[in-house]
Symmetry: C2
């Protein structure tokens, strides 16, 4: 049975938004940030750079440091501090990824074997701790207590979000509010902090820092909503990407949450078996996709993402029009349109 | 076969040193620190305080925060900052314990079931991250970049030490230098930082901060050496305490390291089997204790501890005699004499 869930119903859609313009603008700064990252993940304990390199050098979009650099640029900042703080943000992100993979017992990330598979959970936990500590060392070198407060608060909120998510695993009664609180904490808090520190280093008025915090937070929520939709996307599957990770882990993300609440008794019994009891068999993912499709749960997850995306864009309204502003607005569209 | 390894050959020894005097002096401050700890481990995510309370409220000696409070008192400090920073130090320590138990796959700590057994590895990793973040939030509230530098550096060194230890597991060729580097990093760095921040809050001359850093570092090394000896101590076993944890985990601590280097071919083959190959059978711990005893490896581990203890005491030489100084010197004796 082929399941085709087409997320895109607007055939007249214009060219897709990309991150290209933003990446072009911050290109030189990002190269410096990458150098700082490579330099500062060094340790005489060889396993640390080896393992960190696996995750950090493997690439990924570097979205969070790019946001720090872009936010600083939007505020007219020309100095070097943003580069180092962008590296801090990436270190915090990498540390959480290492710990997430241990917590989720993941085998693959972006198609590569995860560090916990290659070097064991133990090394992943400890190297995560090292990168987290290293991030704080970098902040201390920067010397701003305001930045330290923003990023240490974000770190505590991220950990709270991860614990909340763990407690919601397998709970089909998870409310949308509770789900939103999880993604606001585990994902959006770092997006928000990454953007806010860009304004702080530029020493701009509080209103601009708040605007960028709001931009980052809403963008982060939209980003995670789309991520959670992509985990059930037939297009992703057609591209050869793995889907169904959240399903197998019993995570009650919005697609399941909506399908459960909109479902009939038989469907709810299905969700209870596969998610609550963790009793999954061959063909269950396909059935999940079918039920999710029947209730338009993916389309509506993306609709929710559009809502937060719209708030992210409006948050930037107080800034003068400029190319960097346009590129940050485009980053919002990119985050949502990557679903198609 | 009963194995009696008597660590104490000096029968004429005076009354044992205790922590009582130090604990009396800091009693009121420590009560405030405990209040801060209980208040600041709070989170609306219930699992966080529940799990943290299991480890933090279960007690233990609170040795590290006591050292911060004692060091501050030695420097004549009378304010409140040391109490909050003592709580930071305990949070860092607790975070590392939570992660250690995951890394070591421990079932018991101080005779209680470990958090990872009760709530799972996942919760232990994430609540550790939370406590670590919370520690940095507390430091940021304190507002001293110098304190932040000391404790963030210590955190990175601790993580490096833990990774080093992981890489040495099962390696009978571990040198004493390498072993010392591990314990200086994983244990002594936090003892050193705990003491140093006591001098920093008192705004005393650099020499006093350095003296307390040295006191803490050497005390920490002595403390860990004794811990590593205790894991093979017949007296501990007679007291009903678990021994042999390091042995089962294949950790090459000084007692094994000395026994291996002093051993004959047959004994080395034994260590290779049980530690390198991890092939352990009933009776192996008893045989390990016998070989360790034959080579006086426990006595000499304690002798090494005395060496670092002596350095710790001499480090305090620049301070005027006082009751708090006496009690800090006694803490060194206590750390070593608890082996008997």
């Amino acid at each position: 049975m082929a399941i085709i869930v087409n997320l895109d119903k607007r055939k007249e859609q214009p060219a897709k938004a990309t991150l290209k313009r933003l990446l072009n603008i911050v290109e030189a700064d990002l190269a410096d940030t990458n150098d700082i990252i490579l330099e500062r993940m060094h340790s005489e304990v060889e396993l640390i750079p080896t393992l960190a390199r696996h995750l950090i050098a493997a690439g990924g979009k570097r979205l969070r440091p790019v946001l720090t650099l872009g936010a600083a640029k939007l505020c007219g900042y020309e100095g070097d501090r943003a580069k180092k703080l962008a590296a801090c943000v990436e270190f915090i992100h990498t540390a959480t990824l290492l710990h997430d993979d241990v917590v989720d017992e993941s085998d693959l990330r972006r198609g590569n074997e995860t560090a916990n598979v290659l070097w064991g959970n133990q090394a992943s936990v400890l190297v995560g701790d090292f990168l987290f500590s290293r991030s704080f060392q970098l902040m201390v070198e920067d010397g701003s207590l305001e930045v330290l407060a923003i990023l240490s608060n974000a770190s505590a909120v991220i950990a709270e979000g991860e614990v909340m998510q763990l407690m919601n695993v397998g709970n089909t009664n998870t409310t949308e509010d509770s789900y939103l609180q999880v993604i606001a904490s585990k994902t959006a808090a770092l997006f928000a902090a990454a953007c806010e520190v860009g304004a702080v280093v530029a020493e701009r008025p509080k209103a601009e820092a708040q605007a960028l915090e709001s931009y980052g937070r809403n963008l982060g929520i939209a980003f995670q909503l789309v991520d959670d939709a992509l985990d059930y996307s037939a297009e992703q599957q057609a591209l050869g990407k793995a889907i169904g990770d959240d399903f197998r882990e019993g995570k009650v993300t919005l697609p399941i949450l909506l399908a459960f609440r909109r479902g009939n008794a038989e469907e709810r019994a299905f969700w209870k078996r596969v998610v609550e009891d963790g009793d999954q068999q061959d063909g269950d993912l396909e059935q999940a996709l079918e039920i999710i499709g029947k209730h338009s749960a993916l389309e509506d997850t993306i609709e929710r993402a559009r809502h937060y995306g719209a708030m992210a864009k409006d948050a930037l309204g107080i800034f003068e029009d400029s190319e960097i502003k346009e590129s940050l607005l485009e980053a919002v569209d990119f985050s949502i349109e990557r679903a198609f």
